[in-house]
Amino acid sequence: MHQPTTQARPSIYYPYQVHAPWLASQHPAQGRHPVVIVGSGPSGMVTALELARHGVASVVLESELQVSQGSRAIVFTRRSLEILQQVGVAQRMVDNGLPWRFGNSYYRGQRVFRMEAPHDADDRFFPMLNIQQQYMEEYLLDACQAEPLVDFRWGNKVTQVAQDATGATLEVDTPEGPYQLHADWVVAADGGRSAIRAAFDLQMEGASYEGRFVIADIRIDLPLPTERLAFFDPDWNPGNTVLMHREPHGIWRVDYQLPENETPEDALQPAALATRINALLAQIGHGDKPWEMDWSSVYSARTLTLPDYRHGRVLFTGDAAHLLPIFGVRGANTAFQDAQSLGWHLAFAVKGIASAALVDNYSRERVGAAREIIEESGKSTRFMTPPTRGFRLLRDAVLSLSLSQEFVRPLYHWRTSRPHEYTQSALNSPGDDNALFKAGPAHGAPPQNIRLSANDYLLDHLGGGFDLLYFTEGAAMPEALQSVVNAARAKGVPLRVTAVGASAPVAGADQTLADADGHFRARYGVPASGAAYLLRPDQHVCARWLTLDATRLQAALNHALPQ
């Protein structure tokens, strides 16, 4: 019998709410479900909300009775906010989080590198936003509970999954005992220790690094801006790296590498923690300030991914699919991109708008993204925690040179999570004009946001299906295009037409966005009327044309939705 803890997790700033378990005896008999999602972390909940937006119901099974312990992920990127905007929780994140864009690296008391994340007037969201994972999970949970297509079940632990060619049977244990659940598809969003991954004996590829980090959240009043602080080789922790981030509610995240030969148990002793935190505070000139511990943990960097996120009727996502180092804030930010991608691919397959082959495309694209992240974040990890003597010597040489030599300083660059561009996606239209554009988002790229007026941006108007951006100054959409659009809709393809550039509403378009100064066109590299972009439901570009005609629009839609 599964007995999740009913004791609220300890925290000095976050009031944990313990929810009642979902019990089978209190509900009518279970039918077969199109999708069952195992795990209600960020990847599970965003997948559920995306599925719902595409009209697909899901059951979310969560073994615990409360949101996750400790702050875990704290830095969320602009693209994550754009994805969270799609599921309706971005505003709460912004209202309660701390935006920032500068990062500082220090060595021997000198600031040797200052990172400035680009921030464009066309962007609604800041490059980074700090807020603790529990809040993010709480906002997603509220959105799930307000969504009739999401059946959320606390205290339901999956203990077994069996599958055949058409579906899966799950054994679910609850505080009153087990029950069975049948599903066409299972989403394994059960986190880094995924029991589903282990049960199917699926092997991950990649590397685990030895360096271990203590991660601690303390409450302290520090008169410092919200910027990332990184200290290399400080006197009190020679050879190692220390990071600091401001979080809401007067909390600071302190992150430091364990000296070699120290066990995690020793490092987490209150006295050991206090000694090091006091040394860090003294180093930054605030040794006199009182502080209080909220949560601490130890982790090590891993760059691992499954080579395939589809295993029959089971689809892996988030940490269950890959384990990424936190340098460059990869874990949760990648989980959102996975979930957004999985949501539409799976929904379209479930609804029969495309064949089940579409979910293989989810796997191909996201495995590609994970491999790119592993390649990039491996570089950061090797700089932060050199794995061998050679890497350590090189890192030390760079630290030493950086005090006087400009050219090595960019090596401190902290490669922040950014959306993968599906440049080689099988869904990109082979017959369009992608190569002829001189500017604008290319094949597979996420869209460039555009500021339309105060508090009004392009991405506020897109999403939930395919989006056709048609640049025109005419009064109406060409009839031939309209009939392709109508035929697609008749087959169940959600497709919205946005006319860009006309001053009055364009007949046949769902919405018209003016572009009096031509700024929108310029950012999209559009030289003349008649050009267009086709965005997939995850908003990535799958076709663009300098002059769109009906035949090529039809071809692009056919290509993006394999039958």
Partner: protein, 69 residues
Amino acid sequence: MTPVSSALGQPALGIAGLEQVYDQLATAIDQAGPAKAELFLVKLALLNAQALGDAEAFGRHLQAALQDL
């Protein structure tokens, strides 16, 4: 004196220049001391690689230096 081309395809120092570098490098290694000599040499390699401006050529130098250790 005309510079002689080295086996690595770069303009060479010539014997007088090479002798000068030989003495400078030996003295600097001694100055760095046994604990820091390795670090010093790596810094030097990075500075020289930057001045060389050619990652492929640097790779050939690495291979040449790794021979017959």
